[in-house]
């Protein structure tokens, strides 16, 4: 049988499938259906230095080919996460990727400083879609220069490998990827949600503006993964609209070393274990002994 395990920043992951940040609670919420140890790695909800309340409702809305969310980064803060939830992952020996953000550069740096290296922590994942308060609310991930600066500083502070998670709403995502690479980034997570809005024609209003995720995002994310993985020589985690194992394999072939699954879990809470199983089946059926045989195969 094929092995679908992989080494990611020196740590062994059972498989290349993770949850997308913000779509699998804080820790044990999924346990009545399946265990987090099923995952290649668990990605935390976006964490900030201080707890954050988030946006008023409505926070989620259904859209034909996906969904819109405007959670507003609600979270209990890094400290409470490590006190209350991290021990659960230690008990379950599940590798963790810590997604974090800040509203100022200092907050990003303080976050990175607070997170201590641990056998289980595979990487930090910097969410660069967060609004930069000092820059009038424009997100950090929009300009190559801003990305370069913040990545450089974060890399100077933490010994843990750092992934930059990029937003698709930019002039050219490859330029952003290059800037992060030049600043020393260890890997990229592509992509975050795409800004979007809903009109409720019955009530004649725009009930929600927020981030669009789900199947509609897939070809946009695939292109980002394909172009960026050709442009920069660091591992990439693909995310956006992955609903089944074929979608996951598409991302691997486009150049991703691992994938994350978000909205699919809301449609089918067993989506992640099914995708993991499906990748294994794909590998067996196609005589693929090792995922490296297909990662980036479309580049040739």
């Amino acid at each position: 049988m094929a092995t679908i395990s992989l080494t990611f920043f020196g740590k062994r992951l059972k498989n290349p499938v993770m949850n997308a940040s913000g779509t699998l609670g804080y820790s044990n919420e999924i346990e009545s259906l399946w265990g987090v140890e099923t995952l290649g790695a668990y990605v935390t909800k976006g964490l900030s230095l201080r707890p954050h309340h988030g946006n008023p409702t409505p926070r989620v809305w259904d859209e034909r080919s996906g969904m819109i969310n405007s959670i507003g980064l609600q979270n209990v803060g890094i400290e409470r996460f490590f006190d209350e939830h991290f021990p659960f992952f230690q008990k379950k020996r599940t590798p963790v990727i810590v997604n974090f953000f800040g509203f100022t550069e200092e907050e990003y740096l303080d976050c990175a400083r607070r997170i201590k290296p641990d056998r289980l922590i595979v990487a930090l994942e910097m969410n660069l879609s967060c609004p930069n308060i000092k820059a009038g609310g424009i997100s950090f991930g929009k300009d190559p220069q801003t990305v370069y600066e913040i990545v450089k500083k974060v890399k100077g502070i933490t010994p843990i490998p750092v992934l930059a998670k990029l937003t698709p709403e930019v002039k050219n995502i490859v330029d952003i990827a290059r800037a992060a690479y030049e600043a020393g980034i260890d890997g990229l997570t592509l992509i975050n949600t795409m800004p979007a809005a809903i009109v409720d024609i019955k009530r004649k209003r725009v009930p929600i503006k927020g981030g669009f995720s789900g199947p509609a995002l897939k070809p946009i994310a695939l292109r980002a993964v394909y172009e960026c993985s050709k442009a920069v020589p660091v591992p990439i985690i693909g995310v956006g609209g992955i609903m089944d194992a074929d979608d996951a394999v598409s991302f691997l072939m486009a150049g991703a070393s691992a994938v994350q699954v978000g909205s699919a879990t809301f449609v089918d809470p067993y989506a992640i274990p099914k995708i993991i199983e499906g990748i294994g089946r794909y590998a067996d059926k196609n005589g693929c002994r090792n995922l490296h045989e297909i990662i980036g195969i479309t580049h040739e």
Binding site: D62, Q74, V76, K202, F266
Partner: protein
């Protein structure tokens, strides 16, 4: 809790835009407490997310849901025909907590009854029920609890008290004087706010089933929050910490 395959047994229009949907589950659900809900897959290709519905009734692998058509999801749902396949994730959330009281008072209106129906069935005969709706035709919705002698308010006065259900409740509050009562409610925010105004002075115990838009239904996404008076962490998940909350903890 589990995600269970189900088939439509029937999907019946009761009156105006109220429907009763019965689903046969491929295997039994866990133990259901009044106030719990399910996340139902709407069998229509244009509906991406599931929709939350209270468990109106449950027994022998048949789960019953009462719903009102209000938007695209419920519009699609009412087209589901006999034998159509769907998925039912549940039972979800924390239901009502039934403590010993002299009188349990259930106040509800419109489709809100779907949230307290199983509670009413469980409470046996020691409950006082208040139901409000727009006119006597809508009473078809509470047909099977009519034997519990609910106090009825209709906006058009075509049956019972003319006016809203909270005014009717206020008018009868004196009958509960000196008694140890607890209120259970489910309905539009305006109704809940009105109840609160009536009982503010006494801080009468009151459990509220809140309805919020949901994506996951069991704590994964933080989409369904309600604001509470907890200053440290005001937004609680309706699906996980709720959907039943202590009225006095809510920030309405």
């Amino acid at each position: 809790m589990d995600d269970i395959e189900a088939r439509v047994v029937d999907n019946r229009n009761i009156v105006s835009n109220y429907f009763l949907l019965r689903l046969k589950l491929a295997k039994p659900m866990g133990i259901v407490r009044p106030g719990q809900f399910v996340m139902l897959k709407v069998p229509d290709k244009n509906i991406f997310l599931r929709r939350p519905f209270s468990i109106f009734d449950y027994g022998r692998d048949i789960v019953t849901i009462m719903y009102r058509v209000v938007g695209k999801g419920t519009e699609a749902l009412c087209k589901a025909g006999k034998n159509e396949k769907t998925l039912v994730l549940g039972p979800l959330g924390n239901g009502f907590t039934i403590t010993k009281r002299d009188v349990c008072v259930v106040i509800t209106g419109g489709i809100g009854v779907a949230g307290v129906h199983l509670l009413i069935k469980t409470l046996k005969h020691d409950a006082s029920i208040f139901y409000g709706c727009s006119s006597k035709e809508e009473l078809a919705v509470i047909k099977d609890i009519m034997e519990r002698n609910p106090a009825i308010a209709t906006l058009d006065g075509s049956r019972g008290f003319q006016g809203d259900v909270v005014t009717l409740f206020r008018n009868q509050m004196k009958t509960f004087k000196g008694k140890n009562i607890e209120i259970f409610t489910c309905g539009p925010e305006g109704m809940v706010k009105n109840i609160r105004k009536q009982i503010e002075k006494w801080k009468t115990p009151c459990q509220v089933l809140v309805e919020e838009r949901m994506a996951c239904g069991f704590g994964l996404c933080f989409g369904c929050v309600v604001k509470t008076i907890d200053e440290k962490e005001p937004y609680k998940r309706a699906c996980k910490e709720g959907p039943v909350f202590d009225l006095w903890q809510l920030s309405l």
